[in-house]
């Protein structure tokens, strides 16, 4: 590359960056089950009664719930055509019929226009077909335009009632799509979609690489690394207002942002003092950035523990990249991973017990592995050659990651026990750097 290209890149980047296109709808992301489990729970989501002035959307609430539960790999929802009965309230349920259909659980309900005309009210019941007991009855309201979100919340509640862990359906995923790389007009898009693949939108478009998107704990903001100026910068983008601001543009590397659990601090990797080290940036701007690690090696990819008292990070201080932890007030870093030559890009499960990493035994294959911090057990979840960027679902059920397939970047997910595998099918382009959001309240 020669000097001319640098200026041209910077110009292109500047122009495109000024033309941020928040909310530009893309082709839809599709999530397919590759491997499911034997004996997924048979369940039936009866069509919800629709009591609103506007017509019921083609994608009904019950079909959204069924699709969610099926996609999890743990449920086997009945097709609507097979349902003889369409009860709405518990007294209308003839349990004998559902027992004959070999359904364990039944969900019934209704969607009404809200009393004040603003949004919708959901009322639904989860029933045990064998005993005839009501396991869950709930009513809730959602805003206009949040019908799908309501269906996701119902799915979360059903999942939790039957499995004892919260669902992760009312969530979103962020990822980067690269197009035309290696040509004169490359395009990098930071994309956000609902966890079921709907509402795929490009929130940032840029002629320069975008990497490491990460969610704020309230799922309202994304921090990411941009090369828009020709050098790495860390930017925080508000998904609701569309506003963005540069939070770090130091000399050298500005990389690997991670929000603290209270959303007030951003841990990053900066090389302003020499080698890349972990720094803490106060997002309120009241304190100067504080250097957390002080080491001549590479120190990057910080992630906070769930209580915010420690930071896990990747360091090659022992020769090869491994995962370390350090208290939020500094001190001695402790090495956490010993198995394998390469452990990097840690993502913590919800109770901090499971640690998802990029793992390699001998620089041949890079796979996603889980370290169980209690038992010390290591399990390899993926089977690719260049798998990277693991990101735990907020309920710990699945790990989302990037892989390469036929020379193209794709997204995939595997359940934490390795039994369920999903493939995330997108439109054209190289897809990478996935990040699963916290649960949206």
């Amino acid at each position: 590359m020669a000097e001319t290209t640098i200026l041209r890149r910077a110009l292109q980047a500047g122009l495109l960056f000024a033309l941020l296109l928040p909310g530009l709808a893309l082709a839809q992301l599709r999530i397919e089950i590759v491997d499911g489990v034997e004996g997924a729970m048979p369940i039936s989501i009866a069509p919800f009664a629709w009591n609103a002035t506007e017509p019921e959307p083609a994608n009904t609430v019950s079909s959204i719930i069924s699709a969610n539960l099926r996609r999890s790999g743990l449920f086997d929802p009945m097709d609507e055509e097979g349902m003889i009965d369409r009860p709405v309230r518990p007294p209308e349920v003839r349990f004998g019929t559902w027992r004959l259909l070999k359904v364990d659980h039944l969900v019934i309900g209704e969607v009404r226009e809200a009393a004040d005309g603003f949004g919708y009210e959901f009322e639904y019941h989860l029933l045990d077909v064998l005993t005839g007991r009501i396991l869950l009855s709930q009513a809730m309201g959602v805003g206009p335009g949040d019908l799908r979100f309501g269906a996701h919340r119902v799915s979360d509640a059903i999942y939790e009632a039957l499995l004892g862990v919260p669902g992760a359906f009312a969530t979103r995923i962020a990822y980067v799509v690269a197009s035309n790389e290696g040509t004169d007009n490359p395009l990098y898009e930071l994309v956000v979609a609902d966890a079921d693949g709907f509402n795929e939108q490009a929130v940032v478009r840029n002629a320069e690489p975008i990497l490491s998107p990460t969610w704020s704990p309230d799922a309202r903001q994304l921090a990411y690394v941009s090369f828009a100026t020709g050098r790495s910068n860390i930017i925080v983008q508000d998904l609701y207002t569309g506003q963005n601001r540069v939070v770090s543009s130091e000399r050298g590397i500005n990389g690997a942002p991670a929000f603290s659990p209270d959303g007030r601090t951003l841990a990053v990797s900066l090389s302003r003092s020499g080698s890349p080290n972990i720094w803490l940036i106060d997002l309120q701007g009241q304190q100067r950035p504080r250097q957390l690690t002080h080491h001549w090696s590479i120190n990057t990819e910080p992630t906070f523990s769930s209580d915010g008292t420690e930071v896990l990070f990747t360091s090659d201080r022992a020769g090869r990249p491994q995962i370390y932890r350090i208290g939020i007030n500094g001190g001695e870093a402790e090495r956490l991973t010993y198995e394998g030559r390469y452990n990097a890009h840690a993502s913590l499960g919800p109770d901090d017990r499971m640690l998802a990493v990029i793992f390699s035994e001998g620089d041949e294959d890079y796979r996603i592995a889980l370290h169980d911090r209690e038992s010390g057990r290591l399990s390899v979840l993926s089977d690719g050659r260049l798998d990277e960027s693991p990101s735990f679902a907020p309920n710990g059920s699945m790990v989302l990651y990037a892989a390469r397939q036929n020379g193209r970047g794709v997204l995939a997910a595997a359940s934490a026990d390795g039994r369920i595998r999903q493939r995330l099918v997108t439109g054209a382009g190289d897809v990478r750097e996935p990040a699963w959001s916290p649960i949206i309240r």
Binding site: M1, S232, S271, R385
Partner: protein, 176 residues
């Protein structure tokens, strides 16, 4: 911006891409640098001495080490291999003799492993070249470093050949 420079950039890029596309090449070792043994013809007064690393014309002279602008690295390493020292020393000598010269050292990594770690690795490689340039007499204010990690490969196949070509530092002149 100089049209000639732009042309050179395009030719270099084309050469790189051609090198990249050559799938049948069995031995993908990066070019080994031999100092030119041929004596310059001293009878021609305007003939350039390719070993004169202070001469701006040698930046575009394929016979001169100054025309070579890429240093390649081993996997997950940032130490400079012996065969690339002469290239770096030539550019250091040029910078020392030409105070107005400005250089950006762009560090790159292959695609394996995490992108952020590779960003750090690219910087470490740029740092290594920068240190060697300083040792050769380039002043700190002349040399800047930037890392692109694995984000700007010159070759896009997932194989050893491409990976070798992508693990590199590019010596880019912003002023000569």
């Amino acid at each position: 911006m100089n049209t000639a420079l732009r042309l050179i950039a395009i030719v270099m890029l084309a050469a790189l891409m051609a090198a990249c596309a050559r799938q049948t090449t069995p031995e993908p070792e990066p070019p080994v640098v031999e100092p030119p043994t041929q004596q310059p013809d001293t009878t021609e007064t305007d003939r350039i001495d390719p070993r004169d690393f202070t001469d701006v014309r040698n930046l575009d002279n394929p016979e001169s080490l100054l025309s070579q602008r890429v240093v390649y690295f081993e996997f997950d390493r940032s130490n400079i291999r012996a065969q690339f020292r002469p290239i770096i020393e030539a550019h250091a000598a040029y910078a020392r003799a030409n105070a107005s010269a400005r250089i950006i050292l762009e560090g790159h990594a292959d695609e394996r492993g995490s992108r952020e770690y590779n960003l750090a690795l690219g910087e470490r490689r740029s740092d290594a070249v920068s240190d060697a340039m300083s040792a050769g007499g380039a002043s700190g204010s002349q040399v800047e470093i930037v890392s692109y990690g694995e984000e700007r490969p010159v070759c896009r196949n997932s194989d050893d050949d491409c990976w070798q070509r992508n693990r590199r530092v590019e010596i880019v002149y912003t002023a000569r």
